[in-house]
Structure formats: C-alpha cells, structure tokens
Amino acid sequence: MNIQSNLRSNSPPRNAGVPLEISWFENIQVNTSAAERRAATLTTRRSVKKEYQAAWLVKALQCIDLTTLAGDDTAGRVHRLCEKAKRPLREDLIEKLGLADAPPKVGAICVYPTMVPHAVKALRGSGIPVASVATGFPAGLTPLSIRLAEIRYAVEEGAEEIDIVINREQVLMQDWSALYDEIAAMRAACGDAHLKAILATGDLKTLRNVYKASMVAMQAGADFIKTSTGKEDVNATLPVSLTMVRALRVYGELTGFQIGFKPAGGLKTAKDAMAWQILMKEELGRRWLEPDLFRIGASSLLSDIERQLEHYLTGRYAALSHHALA
C-alpha cells in the first residue's frame, strides 16, 4: 500500500467550524514551567537514526512550505524557489534513497499575494500548491474589508492556501467574538482555498493566550493553525507548539475534525525539523506527519536537510554549494 496516495484519497474532511464556544477554552490552564519541561525532554526521549533518519528527513522535506516573504521578492526569485520546490533533492540522492519512482516535492510554496501569479505559473503541472499570506501580513492591522479583499485577490490569482494573520489586539483584549467573526469572514473569503491561521504567538506571549486563540481559530473554521509570521521577535518554539497541538487534539476530540499544524520561523536545521516531527508523532500520532496535516514554514531548512541526506548516503559532509540554491 502506498501511504502517500492512500493519504491523498483519505484526506480528512475539511473543518466546517463550529459556533463560538467560549466554554471550551475560557478556563484553560497552561503551566508554562511544565510545558517547557515537556518540550525540553520530548526530543531527548526519542531518537531517529540512519535510514530511519533519512526517511524522516524526506518526510520533513515533503512538509516544507518553502517560503519567501521579503520586500525584494521578484518574479525571478520566485521562479528559482519554485524550481527548487519541484526538485528539492539532487537526482543522485533521490536515486540512492530509492525514491526515483516518486521523487519527493515540498508541501507548498509560500509567497506574498502579488507573487502568487509568478508562482502559479512556475508550478503549473507540478501538483505543488501555492500558498499566499494575506490579511495585512504580518501585522494584520489593515481594515477588515481590505484584508478580505486581499484574500479574494490571492485566491483569484490561483493560491490554493491562504495564510492569514489574526488580529492580536483581539486576543490581548480577550475579545473572542470579534476574533471569531473576523476569522470566520476570512474563511468565507477563502472559498475552496485552505485557511491557515497564523497566531503570531510571539505577540500573544502567554501560553493560555496561545491555547485560546488556537481554539477560536479552529472554531471559526481554520484548516491549519500556524505559529508565527516569521516577523515577530520570537518565532516557533516547542512549548508554544506543544500548547497548540494540545488544543488541536482537544478540538478534534470534540468535533471529529482533524486540523493541521504549521510551525514557522526559526526552524533552520534538520534537527529542528525532527524535533517538531517527534512532537507531532508523540502528541498527535503518526497521521500528523503527513503534509495534509503538518507543514513547516521555512526557507533555509531545506538545504540543511539536503546536506544531512547527502551525509547519510555518502558518509561525507557536503558543502552548501553542492546543492541547488533555493
């Protein structure tokens, strides 16, 4: 059985959302010290070596939302990134890994809305979806009508996934109905495109806020919850991620919907990727290692994974210049 194809046909039903249910989270307790302890020991409790590590890294690669979100992005830059997305590993490595029949591709390309047309063009026929940030990324403080228009624009240009940013003020003020309404409106604007809700956890500060915002985003219909824009001063951390996936698990128990998780920002090394994979497998189960439920927002991570895979296959440490630039 090919799990990949099986998963594609078995992708979970989309989160339909539920009416705002404050009682699901208003009394939530998250002990920061305990979350930090669990996070610190998660990766010391599990170890993945040799061919298993190679496979896990291939899987991590398939979950990457290969991202460029810079003010100097151009059509050329996006094109190069898309080429890398289609062929993230050198052919000889693919061959040696025994993956020539189904060469791995990254999970998606993630760009600003105006870059979407370039990406869509470059990826045509590859099966790799284009994700667009939207809603006044990264601060999310432009008027709602403009934020919604931005979503519609990106979708019209061909984005299949929209990474929205939530309004942090509404979390800090604990204004859950306002937050819910905004995200629900964004979900409606997405149409068939999947919505990833960026919580910008570095701005929310407390783990209780993270939990509550996660729950509201899921109730409002988010398909994924995502940690960070990459622009806050603190990006994805394991304690924050632990808190989010615990919320996600509870939402699943209460509604039956399987929600995806996307850590973003700060995951730079193969080791980082595996730490989050272990988190997913331990807290949520094996199913959450697949790209329909797990993505990693990253730009430089891919090249480290390539180097680690090359080391696994050759026993030698590779230079960055031996791999295609992203």
Binding site: N31, A54, A55, L207
Partner: protein, 798 residues
C-alpha cells in the same frame, strides 16, 4: 536494513542503540572478577566465591564481584580509620580540590558511566545520560564548595569519623554521590557498600578515585549482599551509618545500632501522594505522572504512586492519562527511544507482579500501557490502578515498580487528609494553578520534599529526606551536611555514673512527708491542660538527696502516656499558629516563672542545691526561656539555590508535631526548661517525663503553664518511673521524635524502641550536659533537632 520507502509509510522511530563497546571492553578486562577497593587498591575478598552481576535487559552475566565478609569490612574500616586523621586535617581548600577533581573526572567519564549504569541497573540511557550522571557530577561540584566552606559555615562542628554507607540499586551511582560527596566534604572517610544487584558503577567510581588522586583509604568500596551490610552496621569502629533502602531494613538497622553511639541517617521508602486539583493544567499533570512513576521503572522511593484526583475532573484526567500511556515505549534501555527499561532483577519483577495481582484480587481495575513488551528480561508494563481506595494494598504499600493507584477526593480538606493517610512521608507532588491551594497543601502535607506543578526534581543544593517512616536525616544542601558533622561540645561529653533508685510506692511510717500545720499539696499529672490522677492509683515517694521526705508524686503508667500523647495530638493549632504567638507565650511563661522565683528556688534547695545555686538556676532558666522566645520567630528556613532558572526551593523548618522529652535529674528546673522551650518555640507539642527524683519541679510548673495561656495539650507532664514511661513514649507511633536524658541503657532502649515508626531520637548515651553552659545547654543544635526540613520546589514563569 529497512528501505526508506517502507519507513516513509510506517514512520517508525527505528532502533537507536547507544553503543556499549567501550564498557564491554572494560568488563572484559575485569572478567576474572572485581575485588573490593580498600586503602586505594583493589584487593581480593577473604571469601573465594564471587557473585554474578546481571544485565536486567536479558539476565546475561556482566561480571563477577566479591562477597564482602566481616573480615573484608574490618579491613576496609581499618583503612578508612587510618586515612581519617590526615584527611580530616586537610584544609578546606585541599579537600575542595579533591572533590572538584572527582566532579571533573565524572564529567570526563560521563558516557562510560551512563552506559555502565544502564547495563547494570536497566534504567534507560536517556535517564542515566541526562539525569543520573549529570546529578552525580553536580553533587561533587556542590560539595567541593562545602569542603571549602566547612570551617566557616559550620563553626564548632567536626567530621564524625569513619562512615559506613549502604546504598540501594535504583540510582546506584547517584546514591553513591549523595553519600560520599557530603561525607568527604565534611572531612570523613567512608566504607561504602553498593547494592548487590548494581555494584559496577561504584567499582568504576573507585577506579576514578584513583585516577583523580583521592588519598588511599578515604574512599573504600566493599561489595556484597545483606550480610556485608550487616557487618558494616555492626562494626565497632564505624562512627556513622547512612542507609538508603527499604523501611523494613532501615528499622532493622535502627535496632542494630541502638546504644552503639553511631550517628544514623535513614532514607527509606515512600508512597507519595500525587495530588491533582480541578484547576490544574491536566496535560502538564499527565506528563507529571509519566515523570513520577514511569521514571526509572517506578523504582523510585519518592515516586508519586498515590494519584489523588479531584472528583470533578477525574474521568477527564484518566482519559488523558490512558491516551498518554498509548505512546509509552518499553524495551532495551540502551535504545535512546525507550521510555522504560526492565526492572532491576527477576526478584523485583516477581514482587511487583505479585503486588499487582493482589491489587486486582482486591477489586482494583488494572490498566496497562498497550506497548509492545520484550519477550525476555525483567519487563513490566506501565500500569495504572483505578477503582481502588485506602483499603487496597496497592494504595497503601510501596510497590517499587511502574504502578500508580488512583482515587478521588472532593475538597482540598479531604486532599490533605488523604495525602497524609500513610505511614510514609517522603515526598508529595501538588498540581494546581492556584497558589493558595497549592501552598496550603504544601504546608500541611507531612513530607520532606514537596514539588508544586512538578515532580522528581533533584539537586545537590536541596535537602532530600523524609518524615515519618520514610526516615530521618537529609541528603544535599546545608541540612545534609549536618549528617556528617558532629558538634564539638557533644563529642567532648563524658559518660557519668548514673544511679536511679527504684521507686517506693507503698506507705512507710519512717518518712514524714508533710508538716501538720500545712495544707497538703497533691502533685498530679498534667494532661490536656488538666491536672489528673495517675491511672494506676499509686504514688511514689520523693526524697531529698539527704533522705528527707519531700512528698508523694503520681506513679504514671502507659495509659497516662497514651492519654498525654492523645492530648498533644489534638493541640495541633500550636504547630500551625504564628511564631510570634508562640514567642509571646514563651515570654509570658518566663514572666510567670519569675513571679514564682522564690518558690522554685526553695524546691531546688529541697532537691539538694545550695540557696545561692538555686537562685542561679532559676535565673538561668528565665534567661533560657527568653533565649528560645527570641528564636521562636528567627530560626528561619532558607531558599536553596537549586540548579535551575525560574524556580525557587524553600527549605522550611517545621516542627515534628508531638515530641517526647525525658528530663534528667540534675539541675531539674534548668534542664527541663532547656528541653521544653526549644521544642515549644519551634511549634512542637510535648509529652514530658518529669525528672524522676524531683518531679515536683515539673508538677509545680503546670501552674506556670496554666497562667501563661499555654493552650491545653501543648505541654503534658507525666511523673513516675522514668524508663518505663520512656519506653511507652519511644514505642508510641504518634510520637514523632524523642529526646532522652538518662543513662546509657535507657538511651539504647529509646533508640531500639523508636524503630517502630522510625522516629528520630536524641539521646545522651549516659553523658552529662552542663546545663548552665550556653554552648551545651542551648543553641542551634536544639533548634535543629526540634525541627525537620521540608523542601518545597516551586517552579514559576509565564
């Protein structure tokens, strides 16, 4: 080799074995068998036969070690004695350099020791690598500091001498460190007996001692089983025994060392509560349970094995816990992805299996982790019992395996009652996000270690040790150092001849007790704030040293002691009240005693003192009361600098509860005050056995107590035959500590009888204290012995 494409489907972790090649090579070098490490070198045992040491993962033989005989122990003690002089005379800096070297060498050998520990004990490599061995190094670093500071931080204290140390198999090298580091820091030399199941890291440590240049004879290791330990305990030239192990063996050691003059510390069993309130972070508490009872296969004395969950959230919590059990992995402890390894030995597996079976027969519902279990080796699945209560054996008895038993409570008050409903008092883990709720239980639980929203945190800077039948003495921190030091004044005390006359309790016409022109005064017992006649209905005659009749005193018996303890138990408000309040009452006692100074001086004259001396004794007594009234709110605890950021560790000095105080005959007023006041000042309630030959000093005193607002039951006074009353007190399981001033025979009796509930004792071994001396008759030693240290760990941070 598995194919990458296949793994992409299963996404299994795959094998992640830690290499053990280097350890195997080391074991091969020693394939002929290890000797004992005595006087700086390995020597053969006087017994030829060697014992096999097994790997609990597959029960293969790892090596063979010597079975220590009494002759071997004697050899080792002689080596330690010889080394003691020079070692104890080294400067603090010199000893500190040695301990620092040990810390450094342990770090340099950290992976070797981790792998060896895992192979010998069965604990996972994650634990030996990330917890045990780093804590070992940390312990030596910390105590290098105490070696440096001994002379300034413990003025007036000296090392005890030769220490016999017996350690268990659950944390072999860590327990070694907990024993050896403070002993050496204080200037003692040691003979250590590792557990028979797990002697290998101790032997490797012996080699490291040589490498690090520790002087010969300072550290001696004698391997063997129970008989070897018994020989060490029995050895006449051992000054102190430190034992970590079962409560059963601890009690035997208490009995065996009774009257020997050996200093003793016992770190025994536990059945610690793990309390989850309805406002806790339940996911955090689930991980807490994993770290509490599925850590080291549950072979942890302080493991939280009594799960007490607030009823409203119990089902929700059990569901989460059961879900978590689904991802636990059990198997080869050298595999870096396993959560649990095997139990230490087939014997332990059989014991745990039998206890769990009993739990099921008792009606408990057993839930076990669904993980794949290895076919061989001493493996036992992570287990949870529900549908059990305080009548179930699995809720009461220490299992020492990966088994937790759960029951519910309704209110915080009930949580306190259930948490304390045990013979043990080692640790407690408390989960609540409400600081008031958490600290309330922390204050009220009878346990030496309390972890708030955490569990099984350890550090060299904090004391570790129990209340009640979990033993006495602390390991780690400043409080732990005292176990390896003795006050110079105590060392200097001399044994003196005691004569205690047999009491006469029948009428004799030869003695005229009272003058016809005075109204007769009847001295009664004082129990629960009331004067009461002795249960026996007998009185005994009190005569002056010159044979003059002074009157009759009640002949108390065991029932009077029982009633006195009962009253003291009820007076618990004294212990939980404010220190300022206690100080006020002590001052008031002094005030009222001063008003009766003349009366007391007369009594002392009756007891044989000169008029001048009597006045002096009353004056000294008043000053002593003031001394302890002053200390009542000043003998502060500490905040230990434990090795973690965002965490505070409070070391609180807590009263024992009910203390027995047995008064000597000499300087009857001053000695009685010197015992009673520190106990009261620290918040204990006391049952006092009056000076036998001058009981009126005590019986007169209840009028002082009555007029000083001392609450009923805080002080209870029994008169009668000293050692008969003392024996009942020492045997009483509700008496938490006892001080005895009598003869050597009585001292031995007290120590022996105290084994029943492992109460700490302070006996004079027939030695006489100069009660007038400010050095001997009062001070920190009294305050320290009137309290037990509770370490409360409070992580914080948002």
């Amino acid at each position: 080799m598995a194919k990458v494409t296949d793994i992409l489907e299963t996404m299994d972790y795959g094998p992640a074995p830690e290499s053990n090649t280097i350890v195997k090579d080391w074991l091969a070098v020693h394939a002929q068998g290890f000797g004992h490490f005595i006087g700086g070198k390995f020597v053969r045992s006087s017994a030829k036969a060697l014992m096999d040491v097994f790997n609990p993962h597959d029960n293969s033989v790892l090596g063979r070690v010597a079975q220590g005989t009494a002759a071997d122990v004697d050899h080792a003690v002689k080596a330690a004695r010889k080394a003691f002089g020079p070692w104890s005379k080294l400067s603090g800096f010199q000893r500190a350099k040695h301990l620092y070297a040990l810390a450094r060498y342990i770090q340099k050998r950290e992976r070797f020791l981790s792998v060896l520990e895992t192979m010998d004990n069965g604990k996972t490599i994650r634990e030996s690598r990330d917890i045990d061995i780093p804590l070992v190094a940390r312990h030596f670093y910390h105590h290098a500091g105490w070696a440096q500071l001994r002379d300034t931080e413990f003025k007036g204290y000296s090392p005890v001498g030769v220490c016999g140390q017996i350690i268990p198999w659950n944390f072999p090298l860590l327990m070694l460190a907990w024993k050896i580091a403070p002993a050496l820091a204080a200037g003692n030399t040691v003979v250590l007996k590792p557990a028979e199941f797990t002697p290998l890291t101790a032997l490797a440590f012996a080699e490291i001692c040589s490498e690090a240049g520790i002087p010969d004879g300072v550290v001696n290791v004698v391997t063997g089983a129970g008989e070897t330990g018994a020989a060490l305990v029995a050895h006449k030239d051992v000054d102190k025994i430190a034992f970590t192990g079962s409560t059963e063996v601890g009690k035997l050691i208490r009995v065996q060392t009774a009257g020997s003059g050996k200093k003793l510390s016992l770190e025994l069993g536990g059945k610690s509560p793990f309390v989850i309130y309805d406002d806790a972070d339940l996911d955090a508490a689930v991980e807490g349970v994993v770290d509490a009872v599925w850590f080291n296969q549950g072979q942890v004395c302080c493991a939280g094995t009594r799960l007490l969950v607030q009823e409203g959230i119990a089902q929700k919590f059990y569901t989460k816990l059961k879900h978590r059990m689904g991802s636990l992995r059990v198997g080869d402890p050298l595999d870096k992805s396993n959560d649990m390894g095997p139990l230490v030995d087939p014997i332990q597996l059989a014991r745990v299996t039998a206890m769990v079976k009993k739990g099921e027969t008792d009606g408990g519902t057993l839930i076990q982790a669904p993980c794949k279990m290895p076919d061989n080796g001493n493996y036992f699945a992570p287990s949870l019992f529900v549908d059990v209560d305080t009548s179930s054996s699995v809720m009461r008895e220490e299992i020492f395996g990966p088994v937790i038993s759960a029951m519910t409570f309704r209110t915080p008050e009930e949580a306190v009652a259930l948490a304390n409903h045990t013979q043990y008092g080692l640790a407690a883990s408390i989960w609540s996000e409400n600081i008031n709720v958490a600290l309330d239980l922390a204050a009220r639980v009878k346990a030496g270690i309390v972890w708030i929203n955490s569990t099984n945190l350890f550090d060299a800077a904090a004391g570790f040790g129990g209340y009640k039948e979990s033993g006495f003495g602390r390991e780690g921190g400043r409080e732990g150092m005292y176990e390896y030091l003795v006050a110079d004044w105590m060392k200097a005390l001399k044994v003196e001849k005691h004569s205690l006359l047999k009491l006469i309790s029948s009428p004799r016409s030869e003695l005229r007790h009272s003058a016809a022109d005075l109204i007769d005064r009847t001295a009664k017992l004082y129990i629960g704030g009331r004067q009461s006649r002795p249960d026996s209905g007998y009185s005994y005659e009190v005569v002056s040293p010159k044979g003059k009749a002074l009157g009759l005193a009640g002949l108390g018996n065991r029932k009077d002691v029982r009633n006195a303890v009962e009253s003291a138990l009820k007076a618990s408000a004294w212990s939980s009240g404010s220190a300022h309040g206690r100080a006020q009452i002590l001052y008031f006692i002094a005030e009222n005693l001063a008003a009766r100074a003349d009366e007391y001086a007369k009594r002392l004259v009756q007891a044989g003192a000169s008029t001048r001396h009597s006045k002096h004794e009353v004056e000294a007594s008043l000053e002593r009361i003031f001394f302890y009234a002053a200390h009542a709110d000043k003998y502060d605890g500490r905040i230990h600098s434990t090795n973690s950021k965002k965490q505070t560790t409070l070391a609180m000095n807590e009263p024992y509860g009910v203390m027995g105080l047995v008064c000597p005959n000499e300087n009857p007023l001053l000695s009685m005050i010197s015992l009673m006041m520190p106990a009261l000042a620290m918040g204990n309630r006391v049952v006092l056995v009056a000076p036998q030959s001058m009981p009126f000093i005590a019986t007169d005193f209840y009028q002082v107590l009555d007029t000083s607002d001392v609450p009923d039951g805080v002080v209870n006074i029994v008169t009668g035959t000293r050692d008969e009353l003392t024996k009942t007190l020492a045997e009483h399981d509700e008496v938490a500590a006892i001080w005895y001033h009598g003869d050597a025979v009585g001292s031995a009796m007290v120590e022996k009888a105290s084994a029943g509930n492992v109460k700490p004792t302070w006996v004079n071994d027939g030695k006489r204290i100069d009660w007038f001396s400010a050095e001997q008759g009062q001070g920190y030693e009294y305050l320290r012995r009137a309290t037990q240290v509770k370490n409360i760990w409070i992580p914080y941070g948002e």
